[in-house]
């Protein structure tokens, strides 16, 4: 009794001191309500035969019809498959590259050159996908592209690489590496800096060569960071960068390149304006993504003794 009365008094005192803070945060809360929580309410559209003129309150409720519709045509399952394939390629090829880059960068002895390479390596991270797409278009252009020039010089006939399905995923994976390698390497670089110098010296005294030092000292030293990054990447497996796909895809590469996000865009705003169907497919992705991220956070809490990713 006494205790709770004291707690209540304390709370009252705190409220008296802190009430202006609520006023300060009010605009932020309003923004979140409008642009995050109101759209969450809009999920109802997924269960409606939504008509824009009728709006969300007067459109007809049709239960799970949109979800059935989604699996009636092969395009949505195809979008799921494409998303998973591109993500797995990004994970298996794109994920190790920054780690290798960071380790090799750390082995460099010319410090000024090392700094220059590092600074330039994360420049592409700050270049927009429209520009990156532009660079790709120009390098791969069948008429004026650098690749086309080489192909012609070797007696071949250049083709429109950006419009051919079999090249699409390679272009996606390689351009993602080009854009993100340096930036992703930063976190590994800082982890490597944290590895105890004495361990290296002990390894040298034990006669370990360079690759043995990397294998037995550097890699174990940054293993926790690698684990967290890997878990995060797995949690984001349904999120293939939309801006990237949007800039690179065209009608000729839809079969291998259309991801879930792009499907939602195309069905909803790109061509068909089927809002119900688009919202329903977006919802499926959100729900699975949410479950994945919760699982992933639980795992990372376990691995790092209570330090979750949030």
């Amino acid at each position: 009794m006494m205790h709770s009365a004291a707690a209540r008094r304390n709370r009252k005192r705190l409220l008296k001191q802190y009430w202006p803070a609520y006023l300060l945060v009010l605009p932020v809360v309003i923004w979140y309500l409008t642009f995050c929580y109101a759209p969450m309410g809009g999920i109802a559209i997924a269960f409606q035969d939504y008509k824009i003129l009728k709006g969300i309150f007067r459109s007809k409720f049709i239960g799970l019809e949109n979800f059935r519709e989604m699996f009636r045509t092969p395009t949505f399952p195809r979008a799921i498959r494409n998303t998973l394939i591109i993500s797995i390629l990004n994970l298996s090829i794109g994920f190790p590259v920054p780690i290798i880059f960071a380790i090799l960068l750390n082995e460099m002895t010319q410090l000024r050159y090392k700094k220059a390479v590092q600074t330039i390596s994360y420049l592409p991270h700050f270049i927009s996908w429209s520009v990156t797409g532009g660079l790709i278009y120009m390098l791969l252009s069948p008429s004026t592209g650098a690749i086309a020039g080489v192909v012609r010089a070797m007696g071949g006939q250049p083709v429109n690489y950006i419009g051919i399905s079999k090249y699409f995923r390679s272009i996606v994976v390689v351009s993602a590496i080009w854009k993100n390698m340096g930036w992703s390497a930063i976190i590994y670089m800082s982890a490597i800096t944290g590895v105890d110098e004495q361990l290296y010296e002990a390894a040298i005294i034990d006669g370990a060569g360079r690759f043995q030092r990397i294998w037995h000292v550097t890699l174990p030293g940054i293993r926790p960071v690698i684990a967290i990054q890997l878990i995060l990447a797995v949690g984001n497996i349904l999120n293939v960068n939309f801006s990237q796909i949007f800039i690179l895809i065209n009608d000729l590469t839809l079969d291998v390149g259309e991801t879930i996000d792009y499907y939602v865009y195309r069905v909803g705003l790109g061509a068909a304006f089927d809002f119900g169907l688009a919202t329903a497919s977006g919802l499926i992705k959100s729900v699975i993504g949410f479950i994945l991220i919760v699982i992933v956070n639980a795992i990372s809490r376990k691995l790092t003794d209570g330090e979750g990713i949030w």
Partner: protein, 290 residues
């Protein structure tokens, strides 16, 4: 200490040096290639391959690009959304981050949850589009600023930065009669230059680079930013509709695209050397605490 270099070390270092130089070339060459392309003749590029130098300095492509009324307007729009948008985003982000950093605030846990939940779950593209539509922002330049103004990630970064400033300062200020608002404006913000610079730059770059919002919210081309015009130019096989508003077609389409890319990217390339150190600082603030 200075180690003896063995033969194996020398081999390794020269391989590594070669590899790093390759990384440098692969990172920078695409930019160089479009710069060459924008001032060269078509023939030079067609014969070329991985060319290193242009065959002269032909600026017709740039003249052509700037003659089109769409480009200066797009540049102005980009500047507007970058400057005004960044200011607006910083305003909201500072308020949110500050209030979240008040350790004794009643309801702080709930507020954090309220913000962070939106990083994990969202209504999706269509419901957001309908909200933007219903508040009358379609075909309005503010649609390029307001709906995407907040990044919860940036807000958490800034909160972490604020939290790294000793709490004793806040206690002392309260005892001196400083109010919640006064502490923010008179004490906290002046101390947070580095953190604010980082977040400001994150927002500016993302406004400068944004193109998708304008494609879904804006029909009126006069409100498009540079990135969107560039994207449309790249996607249109027949450029006539986009760039040739007169009959004076003297420059090849590919060269025009090169020029478009260059004028979009050059501002970023120019400021990058001066601002890059803040970006790394930012990612470090973030990694202190997730």
């Amino acid at each position: 200490m200075r180690r003896m270099y063995t033969h194996a070390d020398k081999v390794f270092h020269s391989c590594n040096l070669t590899f790093m130089s390759l990384v440098l070339i692969l990172t920078l060459y695409p930019f160089w290639y479009v710069m060459i392309g924008s001032v060269s003749t078509m023939g030079h590029l067609i014969r070329g391959g991985f060319i290193l130098l242009p065959d002269g300095l032909h600026f017709e492509a740039y003249q052509q690009v700037f003659r089109n009324a769409l480009i200066p307007t797009a540049y102005r729009n980009t500047l507007f959304i970058t400057i005004v948008g960044t200011a607006f985003s910083m305003f909201l982000t500072i308020l949110g981050a500050y209030v979240l950093s008040l350790k004794k605030l009643p309801g702080r846990t709930f507020l954090t949850f309220f913000f962070v939940l939106t990083m994990l779950f969202s209504g999706g593209l269509i419901p957001l589009y309908l909200v933007v539509r219903s508040i009358g922002l379609l075909d309005n330049i503010w649609a390029l600023i307001i709906p995407g103004a907040m990044s919860t990630y940036n807000m958490i970064l800034l909160r972490n930065f604020f939290e790294s400033i000793p709490e004793a300062l806040f206690e002392a200020a309260s005892i001196d009669g400083e109010s919640i608002w006064g502490y923010l404006f008179r004490i906290l913000l002046p101390l947070s230059g580095a953190g604010l610079a980082t977040i400001t730059l994150f927002y500016s770059v993302s406004y400068w680079n944004a193109y998708f919002e304008s494609l879904i919210y804006i029909r009126n081309r006069d409100l498009w930013p540079m990135q969107t015009v560039l994207r449309q130019v790249l996607q249109t096989a027949q450029m006539n509709t986009m760039l040739y508003d007169d009959a004076r077609q003297t420059v090849a389409a590919e060269t025009l695209k090169d020029a478009m890319i260059v004028i979009t990217v050059v501002p970023i390339l120019m400021v990058y050397p001066f601002i890059q150190k803040y970006f790394v600082k930012g990612i470090m603030i973030g990694s202190l605490k997730g």
